[in-house]
Amino acid sequence: MVEILIDIGISVALLLSIVTLAAFLTFVERRLLGFWQDRLGPNRVGWEGSLQVVADMIKIFFKQDWTPSFVEPVIFVLAPAIVLVTVLLAFAVLPLTPGIGIAGHLNIGVLFFLGMTSLTVYGVVLAGWASNSKFALIGGMRAAAQMISYEVFMGLALIGVVMQSGSFDLVKIVEAQRHLWFVVPQFFGFIMFLIAGIAEAHRLPFDLPEGENELGAGFHTEYSSMKFGMFFVGEYASIVLISSITVILFFGGWNGPFLPPIFWFMLKISLFIGFFILLRAALPRPRYDQLMSYGWKLMLPLSIINVAVTGALILSVPA
């Protein structure tokens, strides 16, 4: 009984901290983008702008929650929830430290993560479709095509890690990296996983589903108020998610000398989050056909080669 209560407590605390972190990231991102463009970014509300998030929250809650007359109302309301819920569910399998984590030893952790990120695409596509407007629909279709293609080699890219650690269990994968982070033997796998991760989170430079210059705001063109806020928080939560899973799979998770595990984990994921923001500051969007041909003609063959080479090495070098 007590254990269940503790588990529930941890889950709720994790959920709240992830949502808070995701909301706070909107501020961090604007500040960092500002510095990278030689600006200051929002620095008025609170100390150095740290309460900007609160101001934004108040604003977004008081906006009119408008459901346009031409939309498919049920799905229209459901879509942002799907995005946020699937992203948050994926956090369930992440082991933050040996003790903190909701699912613990789940022997299909990696698969669960992949499944949940795939489900996110439903939210996006349904949002585009239910909006009943051309920009949203094009955005949704782009999202579907992009995420399905990038998912393929996202899965293939981390097969190398699974082969080396011999388990789909994320805790075991982290423990297997005690001496050597998988980024060293699986460098190409890491690069491809990262690229696929950016595309999965549809972050710049791969945010074609919402390409502002040609689609307005893409799949969330018709959304306002907190329904839009949920897409927004969902996007930032998925940045946290992709950063965490990259750290877990390739950078040794909580492993690190001296300091407590949670600190190492936080440090590593903040570096990745910073890198995600840097990508946004620095790189332009590719064209849509370029995006697709990178995915299918470059990344997919490379990841298959990576799997083959890893397999061959594991078989030829007896442990």
Partner: protein, 172 residues
């Protein structure tokens, strides 16, 4: 090649973290505005303290947003405007009125802090526009260089002005 240039871009963007920011934190920190900055419009007086404006309507005619409205005084021989109104909610601060003005009466100044809570407060009347000084052109008096006779100056007495020719005496 594409990968190399992307990485290079990332690195250079990252270095900007250590650059000085360009932002001027406006209400606390004022930006430098050059004397030629095109801001709030004024009507100036000549060095003798008379109004420079001669109600020629050139500024109103040239104004691309049609925001100047003026009316010559109804008194015979008085060429100052009776009313002079600029609607700053429409003015685009292009400075064309200043260029068109033959007497340098209308001038733009380096001041842009003119926000109001009501639009109607942005309509400036002559008493808001007219200042007591000469503005940017300290020693220019239109009547002293133009060939018209005014109080205190007969024809031909102005700067660089030849005395009037007696048209009848020109006969061969």
């Amino acid at each position: 090649m594409y990968i190399y240039s992307s990485l290079r871009t990332l690195w250079f963007t990252f270095l900007h973290l250590f650059h000085k920011t360009e932002t001027i934190q406006y209400p606390e920190q004022k930006p430098y505005l050059s004397p030629r900055f095109r801001g709030r419009i004024i009507l100036t007086r000549d060095p003798d303290g008379e109004e420079r404006c001669v109600s020629c309507y050139l500024c109103a005619a040239v104004c691309p947003s049609d925001c100047i409205s003026l009316q010559k005084s109804s008194i015979e021989g008085d060429w100052t405007p009776e009313h002079f109104r600029i609607n700053f909610s429409r003015c685009i601060f292009c400075g064309l009125c200043e260029e068109a003005c033959p007497t340098s009466a209308i001038q733009l100044t380096p001041d842009f802090e003119m926000s109001e809570y009501r639009r109607s407060d942005l309509v400036y009347e002559k008493e808001h526009l007219l200042i007591s000084g000469t503005g940017k052109v300290p020693d220019y008096n239109f009547y002293r260089v133009a060939g018209v006779s005014v109080r205190g100056k007969a024809k031909g007495e102005a700067l660089n002005e030849a005395p009037p020719v007696d048209a009848r005496g020109l006969m061969p």
